[in-house]
C-alpha cells in the first residue's frame, strides 16, 4: 500500500517540526522499513535546535557509534542563545505584562508603539526581540512558549512580513501543542491575511519558499501551504470536516488544489464522505452538494491524480459500476487506515461509504436482492440485512422500501414526484436570490458575499489557475 502513501508528496509543504508527527506515524504503520524512517527522522531533527532529540535518534539509528561531538557544541550554543534572547525579550515582556500598559494599549498599532516608546522606552528592535525569541523557542520544541511570544509580538509589531511569519509560527505552535480551537482561530486569521493581500512567503517558518517575487505565485504558494497545514486542524477539530469542505471548495482554494496539489483531493473526498451524516440541515449548499462537486473535480483531474478513495467516488457516481466501486472501497479502507490524518476515521468512513453505495443503489433499482446488496457493501449476509434495515429506518426511504423476506428482496416503490412539487422546488430560491441581487446592487462597491451562500450548485472554474 506504500504506493498510495502521500507523506512524500506533502512533506515539502510542511514546516520541519510539523513533519515529526507524520514520520512517527509512518514508523508505526510500517509501510516503509523502520531504518529508513528513523534515518529521515534523524535528518529532520539535525536541522533543529532539539539537540537532545537528535542525539537520541542518532543513538537509535547507530547504537554502536559515538555521538558526534558537534552536538555538544550545538547544545552549548543553543543554550547560550536562548539565554541571550530571553534576556532581550524579557525586558519587553515585563513592560507589556504590566496591567497599566495592557489597559493603555489601543487598536492602533502605531499609537501603541508611540506610547510604549514614550513611557517605557521600548523600541521597535526590542519588540522584534520577542519575535526572535519566540522563533528560537520554536526551533527547540518549546511550542507553547513560542506561541505566547509570537502572540505578543503580533499585537505590537507593524512589520507586515514579520507579522505574517509570526502568524505561521503561531499556527504551527498551536498545531503542535494540540490546541485545536486556538489553531482553528489562527488558521482563519491567517487565511484572511493571505486572501486579503498579496502575501509574502510563510517567512521564517517556511523551510523552503520560492525565491521568486511574483506576488500571485507567492499567493499560490501560501495557499498551498495553508491547505496542507490546515489538514492538521481540520482532521482533529470536531467541526473540522465541514469546515474543510467549506474552505477547500471555495473557488480559490479549489483552484489551488487543482493547480499545485491534486493529492489534497483525497482529503477532500474523504471529508465529503465523512460529512454525509452530520448533515443536520444547517449546512451551506456548498457542503450539501459537495460530493457532486468533488466528483466533477476528480474526473477532471483524473489524469493527474487518482487513488482508491477518489476512484471509489468515480466508479460510484460516474460509471455507476457498483462492483468496481466495491473493489475500490476495500482498497480505500486500507489507504484510509494508513493515512496519518484519516486513520482515526476509518470506521466512519466505511459506514458512510456504504451508505452512499446503498443510496445510489436503491435509487436506481426497484427490486434488490439482499444478498447481492450485502456483497456490494462488503458485509456478510446477516450484517448486511441488519445494515439495510437500519438504513431504511434511518432515512426517509422508510415509506417506499419494503423488505420481502420470503423472496429475500427489498422492494422499493418510489412514486414519481408530483408535478407541483417539482415546480415548487424549482422556484423555491428565486425570491431570495432576487433579494440578494437587490442587496448586491445597493452595495455595488463590494462583491456580495451572500450570493455565494445561495448557490445551488457550486462548480469549479480555473479562475486562479
Amino acid at each position: 500500500m506504500a504506493e498510495y502513501d502521500l507523506t512524500q508528496k506533502i512533506i515539502p509543504y510542511f514546516d520541519r517540526h510539523l513533519v515529526f508527527p507524520l514520520l512517527a506515524h509512518l514508523a508505526e504503520s510500517e509501510l516503509f522499513p523502520v531504518e529508513h524512517v528513523q534515518a529521515a527522522q534523524y535528518e529532520l531533527a539535525k536541522g533543529t535546535n532539539m539537540v537532545d532529540y537528535a542525539v537520541s535518534l542518532f543513538q537509535q539509528l547507530h547504537p554502536d557509534e559515538e555521538v558526534p561531538p558537534e552536538f555538544a557544541a550545538k547544545r552549548e550554543n543553543a543554550v547560550s542563545t536562548n539565554e541571550r534572547l530571553q534576556l532581550e525579550a524579557q525586558a519587553v515582556l515585563n513592560v507589556i505584562e504590566n496591567p497599566e500598559v495592557a489597559q493603555a494599549l489601543r487598536q492602533d498599532k502605531n499609537q501603541n508603539l508611540q506610547y510604549l516608546k514614550e513611557h517605557y522606552n521600548v523600541t521597535l528592535e526590542q519588540i522584534n526581540a520577542l519575535y526572535n525569541f519566540g522563533k528560537f523557542q520554536y526551533t527547540y520544541g518549546n511550542y507553547s512558549g513560542a506561541a505566547d511570544y509570537l502572540y505578543h509580538f503580533r499585537v505590537l509589531s507593524t512589520d507586515s512580513d514579520l507579522v505574517m511569519s509570526s502568524h505561521w509560527g503561531k499556527l504551527a505552535s498551536d498545531i503542535l501543542t494540540g490546541k485545536w480551537d486556538v489553531a482553528l482561530e489562527e488558521l482563519n486569521t491567517l487565511r484572511e491575511a493571505i486572501d486579503s493581500r498579496a502575501p509574502t512567503a510563510p517567512g521564517a517558518f517556511a523551510a523552503t519558499s520560492a525565491s521568486t517575487t511574483d506576488p500571485s505565485l507567492m499567493q499560490l504558494h501560501s495557499r498551498t501551504w495553508l491547505l496542507h497545514w490546515s489538514l492538521f486542524v481540520y482532521f482533529n477539530h470536531p467541526e473540522g470536516r465541514t469546515l474543510l469542505l467549506e474552505t477547500f471548495l471555495s473557488p480559490t482554494y479549489l483552484n489551488t488544489i487543482q493547480t499545485s496539489s491534486p493529492w489534497i483531493l483525497r482529503y477532500l473526498a474523504t471529508a465529503a464522505i465523512l460529512s454525509r451524516k452530520s448533515s443536520t440541515g444547517a449546512l451551506s449548499s456548498r457542503v450539501r452538494h459537495s460530493i457532486r462537486e468533488i466528483v466533477r473535480v476528480i474526473q477532471m483531474e483524473e489524469y493527474q491524480y487518482q487513488d482508491p478513495v477518489t476512484n471509489f467516488l468515480k466508479e460510484l457516481y460516474v460509471e455507476f459500476d457498483f462492483e468496481a466501486a466495491q473493489r475500490e472501497l476495500s482498497k480505500a479502507e486500507t489507504v484510509v487506515t494508513n493515512d496519518f490524518f484519516l486513520g482515526e476515521f476509518r470506521d466512519d468512513f466505511m459506514d458512510n461509504a456504504r451508505y452512499l453505495i446503498s443510496e445510489a443503489y436503491c435509487r436506481i433499482h426497484q427490486r434488490i436482492d439482499i444478498n447481492d446488496l450485502s456483497d456490494r457493501l462488503n458485509l456478510p449476509h446477516d450484517e448486511g440485512e441488519k445494515w439495510i434495515v437500519n438504513l431504511i429506518r434511518e432515512t426517509r426511504m422508510g415509506a417506499d422500501a419494503k423488505i420481502d423476506l420470503e423472496k429475500n428482496v427489498i422492494e422499493i416503490n418510489r412514486p414519481p414526484q408530483p408535478i407541483y412539487q417539482t415546480v415548487i422546488e424549482k422556484t423555491r430560491g428565486l425570491a431570495f436570490r432576487t433579494q440578494a441581487l437587490g442587496a448586491a446592487m445597493s452595495r455595488s462597491q463590494q462583491p456580495p458575499p451572500t450570493m455565494q451562500q445561495n448557490e445551488t450548485q457550486p462548480a469549479v472554474v480555473e479562475g486562479a489557475r
Partner: protein, 886 residues
C-alpha cells in the same frame, strides 16, 4: 544602369543638339585628370542637377544618368591609379572613336548572344547598332566596316537558326522565337539599305581575309585604327581572352541591361580594384548606391562577392558580409514576391559564415547601435580601447529576414509541385542557422535577441511530428556551434519544446511569452496530451486577452484551439471535442480563421490592401491543419452528442435549443432531400450515419463512419475508428432508449446487451447513469434483470407551468450575470455555476470567451452578435484596426 536611361541618352545624342552631349564630351576631356578634379566636377554636376530640377522629367533622368556615368568614371580613374597602357590609349580617344567603340561593344554582345542563341538580346542589340549607325550617317561619317560584317554574319546565322528551329520546334521559348522572326525582318530591311556595301564585302571576302580587310579598310579614313580593331576581333574569335570569357558568363547570368561604363571598369580594373586595401572604399561606394533608384542590385552583389574573396582580416570579412547579406535581401524590392532561392541560399550560407566568425572571435561584436567609427579605417581588437571591435549590424534581423523570406517563398510556391518539397528541404539548413544564432547569443548573453531567435526555432518545430523534429535536430547536433538546448536522441521532443518554452516564459517580452505558450499547448495537443494542454490553456487566461493580440497570434490561438479539439477527439473525449470545435465551425470561416485560405465574402469586397495583407498571413501549406479532417471530426462528435439529445427531447419548443447549429442545419438539409444516393462526400457519410443512428441502426452508422476516407490522415486511425465504434454503440443505446422508452413498460437488459453487442455491465452502467441523472424515468429490477419504465404523461397546463418555472429561473440567472458584469467581478461565483452545467472545462472556456466577447461587442456598438461570430470578431476587429492605423 537601366536600358531606359540609355535609350534616353541615345535619343539625346541622336538629336545632337542637346547640351547633354556637349557636357559629356566636355567630361571626357578632363578624364585623365586627377580624381580630385573629377570629384569637383561631380559636385558641379550635382549643383546643376539641383538647378534643373524644375525642368522636364526626362531631362532630370538623363541628368541622373549623367551623374552615374560620372561616378563610374570616377571609379575607373580610381583604379587607373594602377595605370594600364590600354586604358591610357582609350582615354585619349575622340568622341567619334568612342561611338565606334560603342558599336563594337554591341557587336560583341551580339556575337556572344549568338553563341547562346539568345535572340531577344540580339534583337535589342541590333536595334541599338542600327541606331548608332544612323547617327553615324547623320554626322556624315561612313558606316563602320564591322557593321557590315556583323550584318553578313547575322544573316547567315539567322538562316541557319531558322532552319534549325524548323527541325526542332520545342527548343525555343515564345519570346525568343518572336525575336528571331523580328530579327529576320529587320536584317532584311537593313541589308537592303546597305546593299552595296554587302556586295562589296562578299566580293572581297572571296579573297584572303587579310586582303579583304585591307581593301575595305582603305575606304575609311582611319585605316590604322580599323586594322587594330579588326585584329582584335579576329583574335577574339580565334581564342577569346580571359576578360571576355567573364563577360560572356555575365551575359548568360542576366539580360543585356548592362552598364557599359561599368563594363569597362570590370574589364580593365577587375584584377586590381578589389584589393584588401580598397575594400572599405568599395564598400562605401556600394553602400552609397544602396537604395538609389537605378542601382543595379545584382552588380552590387557581384562586387561584394569579389570583395569577400579578397577580404583578409576578420574585420573586413565581417563588414563585407554584413553589406553583402543586406544587399541580397535588398535584391527583391517588392513585398509580394519572394526572394530568388539561389540568393536565399547564399544569404543563408553567408549568415552562417558571419555567425561563425563572430562566434570564434569574441573580440568582434556586432551591435545594432555603436559609437561612430571611421568606415574607411581598418580596425582590430588592438586598436580599440577595450579590446572589442564593435560593428554596426544585426544578426538577429538577418535571421528574422531569412526565416520570413523562407515562409514567403513557401507561400508563393505551388504546394503540390516538387519545387515545394525541394524548398522544404532547405528548412534543415535554415533551422541550423537559427540554432547557430541562438548559440551565438547564448555565448554573448544578449537576452532580447536570444528570445527572438528561440521563438523562431520554436516556430519551426512546434507543429511538426516527432520524426521531422528529430531530423532537424540531427543537423543541429552535427554542427560545430551548438546551442545549449538540443534534442538528445534519447529524449522526447516534448522535452525540447518544454525547455525552449520555459526559456521564453522567462523573457520580458509578453508577445513572445504568449506565442510560446500557444505553441507549447499546440505541441501537447498534437501529442494527444489533451488534459495538460487544456489545463495550460485555461491557466494562461489567453482566451480573455486574445482579442487584443496581433493577427498572427490570433491565428496561432485559433490553430491551438482547433488542435486541442482534434486532440480531444483522438482521445475519445467526444463532448470536449465538440465544444471546442463548435466555435470555429459556427463562423463558417474555418479556412480564413486558420489562415489557410482567403475567404470570399459575399456582401463585402476586400480592398486590394486587405487582400494583400490576408495573403501575407497565409500559412505555408505544410503547416495546414486539414480542414476536411477537422470537419469530419467535428461533425462526427456533433452527431454523437446531438442525436441522443434530439431523441430525448419530445416537445417542439425544446427542439429549438440546439447545441450545434451547423450540424442541425446539415441535418435539416439532408432531411429535405427526396432521394438520397449512396454517400460520396464526408458530409454525406456523416449525415446518413446520423440517420441510421436515429433509427437505432448502430451497425450501419458505424460502417458509414468508418468508411470515411479522410480518417487515414489521422495518426493512429485504427484506434480512432475503434473508439468511434464504441461510442456509436453507446450513443446508439442511449438514443434507442430515449426514442422507444414510451413504447415499453419493461425491457430486458440482456436484450439490449445483445442488440448493441455491449457487455451487460456497460449496459447496466449506462442505464444507471441515465436513471441517476433523471434522463430516464425508470428503475432497474435486479432479480429479473429488466428495466421498468414509469412514464407519466403531463397535462398541458402542467407542462406549461414547468416551462414557466424554467424561464423564471433563467431570468434570475441572467440578471445575476448582468449584475456580475456590471460589478466587474472577473471570476464571479455565478459564472462558475453556469459553467458547471456543462460540466466540462471546454464549456467554461467558452463561457468566458463568450463573456469577454459580449462586453467587447457592447463597446463597439454590438456590430455583430451571437456566439458564432466570436472567433471572427477578433480577427475582423484587428483588421479594421490595422487599417485605421494605416
Amino acid at each position: 544602369m537601366s536600358r531606359f536611361f540609355r535609350q534616353a541618352g541615345d535619343s539625346d545624342s541622336e538629336s545632337e543638339s542637346s547640351e547633354e552631349e556637349l557636357m559629356s564630351s566636355e567630361d571626357e576631356a578632363p578624364k585623365p585628370a586627377k580624381p580630385a578634379m573629377s570629384k569637383f566636377l561631380r559636385s558641379a554636376g550635382d549643383e546643376s542637377s539641383e538647378e534643373e530640377e524644375s525642368e522636364e522629367e526626362e531631362e532630370e533622368m538623363s541628368e541622373e544618368e549623367a551623374q552615374i556615368k560620372k561616378k563610374s568614371r570616377f571609379m575607373r580613374t580610381e583604379s587607373e591609379e594602377e595605370e594600364s597602357d590600354e586604358e591610357v590609349k582609350r582615354v585619349v580617344k575622340s568622341a567619334r572613336d568612342k561611338r565606334l567603340d560603342e558599336m563594337e561593344a554591341s557587336g560583341k554582345l551580339m556575337d556572344n548572344a549568338l553563341k547562346i542563341n539568345d535572340w531577344v538580346a540580339i534583337s535589342s542589340e541590333f536595334d541599338k547598332l542600327v541606331r548608332m549607325v544612323q547617327r553615324q550617317q547623320n554626322v556624315s561619317e561612313p558606316v563602320p566596316p564591322f557593321f557590315i560584317r556583323t550584318l553578313v554574319t547575322l544573316e547567315s546565322s539567322l538562316n541557319s537558326a531558322v532552319a534549325k528551329e524548323k527541325e526542332a520546334k520545342k527548343k525555343m521559348n515564345a519570346s525568343n522565337a518572336r525575336a528571331l522572326t523580328a530579327m529576320k525582318q529587320k536584317v532584311k530591311k537593313v541589308a537592303k539599305e546597305h546593299e552595296n556595301e554587302i556586295k562589296q564585302y562578299h566580293a572581297v571576302s572571296r579573297i584572303s581575309s587579310l586582303y579583304n580587310h585591307r581593301i575595305t579598310s582603305h575606304m575609311y579614313q582611319d585605316p590604322e585604327r580599323f586594322e587594330q580593331e579588326y585584329a582584335s576581333h579576329a583574335a577574339a574569335e580565334a581564342q577569346p581572352p580571359p576578360p571576355k570569357v567573364k563577360k560572356v558568363k555575365r551575359l548568360v547570368g542576366e539580360t543585356d541591361e548592362e552598364d557599359e561604363e561599368f563594363t569597362t571598369v570590370g574589364k580593365g580594373g577587375k584584377a586590381m580594384a578589389f584589393t584588401p586595401e580598397s575594400i572599405f572604399k568599395n564598400l562605401q561606394l556600394v553602400q552609397e548606391a544602396r537604395g538609389k533608384k537605378n542601382t543595379d542590385r545584382s552588380e552590387q552583389i557581384r562586387i561584394l562577392e569579389k570583395l569577400l574573396e579578397v577580404a583578409v582580416t576578420n574585420y573586413q570579412r565581417i563588414r563585407v558580409l554584413l553589406a553583402l547579406v543586406s544587399c541580397r535581401f535588398d535584391y527583391n524590392s517588392s513585398v509580394s514576391t519572394h526572394m530568388p532561392i539561389d540568393l536565399w541560399l547564399s544569404a543563408q550560407r553567408e549568415v552562417d559564415q558571419l555567425v561563425a566568425i563572430v562566434a570564434q572571435n569574441p573580440a568582434y561584436s556586432i551591435q545594432e547601435s555603436t559609437e561612430d567609427y571611421d568606415d574607411l579605417a581598418e580596425r582590430s581588437p588592438e586598436t580599440e580601447k577595450d579590446g572589442v571591435v564593435r560593428i554596426r549590424g544585426s544578426i538577429i534581423s538577418f535571421v528574422d529576414r531569412l526565416d520570413d523570406e523562407f515562409t514567403k517563398s513557401l507561400q508563393n510556391i505551388d504546394p503540390h509541385g516538387t519545387e515545394y518539397v525541394d524548398r522544404l528541404k532547405d528548412e534543415k539548413g535554415l533551422y541550423s542557422t537559427i540554432c547557430r544564432a541562438q548559440a551565438l547569443y547564448e555565448k554573448l548573453g544578449h537576452q532580447e535577441p536570444l528570445s527572438r531567435v528561440i521563438m523562431r526555432r520554436l516556430e519551426h518545430i512546434y507543429s511538426k511530428p516527432d520524426a521531422v523534429v528529430r531530423a532537424l535536430e540531427s543537423a543541429v547536433a552535427a554542427a560545430d556551434i551548438k546551442p545549449s538546448i538540443v534534442l538528445d536522441p534519447s529524449e522526447e521532443t516534448t522535452d525540447l519544446i518544454h525547455s525552449l518554452c520555459v526559456h521564453l516564459y522567462k523573457s520580458n517580452n509578453s508577445l513572445l511569452r504568449t506565442r510560446a505558450m500557444l505553441s507549447h499547448i499546440f505541441h501537447y495537443a498534437l501529442h494527444n496530451k489533451f488534459h495538460t494542454a487544456r489545463d495550460m490553456l485555461l491557466m494562461s487566461h489567453l482566451q480573455e486577452s486574445i482579442y487584443s493580440a496581433d493577427v498572427a497570434t490570433q491565428i496561432l490561438y485559433n490553430r491551438t484551439v482547433v488542435q486541442l479539439g482534434l486532440s480531444a477527439f483522438r482521445c475519445g473525449l467526444i463532448k470536449e471535442a465538440q465544444l471546442t470545435l463548435q466555435d470555429i465551425f459556427a463562423t463558417q470561416r474555418v479556412k480564413e480563421l486558420l489562415a489557410q485560405g482567403v475567404h470570399q465574402q459575399r456582401y463585402q469586397v476586400l480592398t486590394p490592401e486587405q487582400e494583400k495583407a490576408e495573403r501575407q498571413r497565409q500559412l505555408p501549406f505544410h503547416m495546414h491543419i486539414n480542414t476536411e479532417l477537422l470537419e469530419a471530426a467535428f461533425l462526427v462528435s456533433s452527431m454523437l452528442v446531438e442525436i441522443p439529445l434530439l431523441a430525448s427531447i419530445d416537445s417542439e419548443e425544446q427542439k429549438r435549443k440546439t447545441i450545434s447549429k451547423s450540424f442541425r442545419r446539415l441535418m435539416d438539409f439532408a432531411d429535405r432531400q427526396v432521394f438520397t444516393g449512396p454517400p460520396e462526400s464526408t458530409r454525406d457519410h456523416i449525415m446518413q450515419a446520423s440517420k441510421a443512428l436515429q433509427d437505432g441502426d448502430w451497425e450501419k452508422c458505424r460502417d458509414l463512419i468508418q468508411d470515411i476516407k479522410i480518417w487515414s490522415l489521422m495518426p493512429e486511425s485504427a484506434l480512432v475508428k475503434e473508439m468511434l465504434a464504441k461510442r456509436i454503440q453507446e450513443e446508439g443505446l442511449r438514443t434507442y432508449l430515449f426514442t422507444y422508452a414510451p413504447h415499453y413498460s419493461t425491457l430486458s437488459l440482456s436484450l439490449l446487451s445483445r442488440t448493441f453487442s455491449l457487455p451487460l455491465r456497460t449496459v447496466t452502467s449506462i442505464v444507471s447513469k441515465m436513471i441517476w441523472n433523471e434522463e430516464l424515468s425508470a428503475s432497474l429490477d435486479q432479480s429479473a434483470g429488466v428495466i421498468v419504465f414509469h412514464r407519466i404523461e403531463l397535462s398541458r397546463s402542467q407542462h406549461l407551468s414547468q416551462i414557466l418555472a424554467d424561464k423564471v429561473n433563467a431570468l434570475v440567472e441572467q440578471n445575476e450575470k448582468a449584475l456580475d458584469q456590471k460589478l466587474g467581478q472577473v471570476t464571479s461565483w455565478q459564472d462558475r455555476g453556469d459553467g458547471g452545467k456543462g460540466g466540462k472545462p471546454g464549456e467554461q472556456t467558452q463561457e468566458r470567451r463568450g463573456r469577454g466577447e459580449r462586453t467587447r461587442g457592447g463597446l463597439r456598438g454590438g456590430a455583430r452578435g451571437g456566439r458564432g461570430a466570436r472567433f471572427a470578431q477578433g480577427l475582423g476587429n484587428q483588421m479594421s484596426g490595422a487599417q485605421r492605423n494605416r
